[in-house]
Amino acid sequence: MTTTIATAPTLPASTHQFAEVIHRLEAGGSMLPDTPDNLKQIIGIYKAYAVPMDFYWRDLLYIAEKVFLNPLPAFKYFISKEYLDRQNAYAGDQASLRIWRGPGDAHPELREFMAKGESGRKLPKLLHHLWHDRVNMEFAEACMDAMLWHEDINPTFNAYLYTDEYIANSDRAIRAYFKGNPLMLGLYKLFPEMFLEQVRRLSYYANLGLFWEVMAPVFFEMSDLYDEGKMTTVPEAMDFLVNGIFAIAGRPIYHHVYIGDECYEIIPKSQGFTWLYEAALPYVEAVFYRTAPFRGTKSYNAQAGQVPDDQKDFHYGILYADVFPVGSAGIPPTLLMQDMLHFLPDYLVEEYQQHSRGEDDMLIQLGITFQRSMYNVTSAVIQALRCALLYPLDDPNPEHLKANRAFFEQQIDRFKRPEARLDDIQQQSYR
């Protein structure tokens, strides 16, 4: 994990297409080259990502726990004060494991943006909402949908959603939620599966919310460390993520619903679901790699084989996304870019103004920065997996080093597709 020693000389050079990247990983580096510019870009974008993410996780939990099965959830993005003030489990004074040294409630920049929006005017919430001058929860929901839809990547969690226990838990919550509402209860009696499917979807809301609750303080802390001059290389940034992944790995993933004063445990903590296995790894697979062919300005013809037959071959995630044509990277990712645009640190704005078309194509520039930064996060996941499942980078046993290399090569094989941007991010000119 934190090893940065050179590759043991016992292994011959890799013959992989991306041999350079393999060697870098074997030396404890990231898929993203270690340059000051890369570091600046990824840290800056982590910060810009963390602020909307602070809203995403709060609202995802708000929807999963409070809005629940509201048949007309028109106001599900109008998060309650309680959830804005909710203490992040990994930030603030009360945190048992404090990742970010900042406060645990909603980030001040987020609060300011929610009040005034891009227009800088204090208008009624509804107007901001309708004008789309707000945090775009649609992106978060698209990520959730990707996790829900690619159910094969989260087998344990998914299997539980079909157990009698889960159905019984849901049943109690549904009955409590619609108490005194004969219409909905009648519908439930007629179409129980429809309601259960909605609850399953909400369980994924909770899942993703709990996942991002961790990532937001991680990114905030990285940004602070960078500003303080304590994070100076790309591998350091990656190692911070690796350590974070391990430290939080055992966090429970659960789904609680609050109806009235009562808490209904749809997925209890005692089920033993963990952050690493039931949230983080499926998230990376579903969102970074697979997602779905978004209906952007690029259309796909499934009959012509432009969309793989097999879900596991999908490759529409940020690691493959063509950020250039706005929208063909998918409308939801474009919404994320719009969200991040509001919270860019000054040094990134300055950097973007000096390149390409400056102000005009900042959305694309930051999208590509985001792509770089997510290659770094994926590197952290790959290194964490190597650390958890394989061997140290300085292992004296050459067989172990061989196993490590096989693992790295197998991971990097996924970027041999022509759509993958691994090659592009090696160049600083890709903006």
């Binding site: 994990m1 494991l97 350590n243 055992g250 005692s270 296995y277 958890a388």
Partner: protein
């Protein structure tokens, strides 16, 4: 002859494991009839995990229990039995890949002391905490 838990408690170098088993509430299960095969990571093995990893798990017993169950296999599997297998089904339900060649390896851990007999099973001491996946 002592049972699995008693051996762990009385042997030096397993304090983390013992504490973890206690926190996860698995003492009873591991003291029961069995028979069970336990891959017991040493304190050094736990120390290799990045900081905070164990603490978060100890704070969340069900999650900890799940990781610990991955180190336990139903039945009494001596090294000679394991040599014939490629993987064993753990109590967590994920399989544990095993290799017995020049060294006795369990996933990415190496067995440093094999075949420690207990009344209700058998213990192999390993130098790494093994994780599912």
């Amino acid at each position: 002859m002592p049972n699995i838990v008693e051996i762990a408690v009385s042997t030096e170098g397993f304090s983390t494991l013992v504490a973890a088993v206690q926190a996860a509430g698995l003492v009873e299960a591991l003291s029961g009839e069995g028979p069970l095969t336990v891959f017991a990571p040493t304190d050094d093995a736990f120390a290799k995990l990045p900081p905070g990893t164990v603490q978060t798990l100890v704070d969340n017993p069900p999650q900890l229990a799940r990781i610990l169950k991955y180190h336990v296999v139903a039945g009494r599997w001596a090294q000679s039995d394991i040599a014939k297998e490629e993987s064993l089904p753990s109590l967590e339900s994920s399989p544990i890949p095993v290799r017995v060649n020049s060294a006795f390896e369990v996933k990415n851990a190496t067995v440093v002391a094999a075949d420690i007999e207990a009344t209700n099973g058998i213990i192999h001491v390993i130098d790494n905490v093994i994780l599912m996946g």
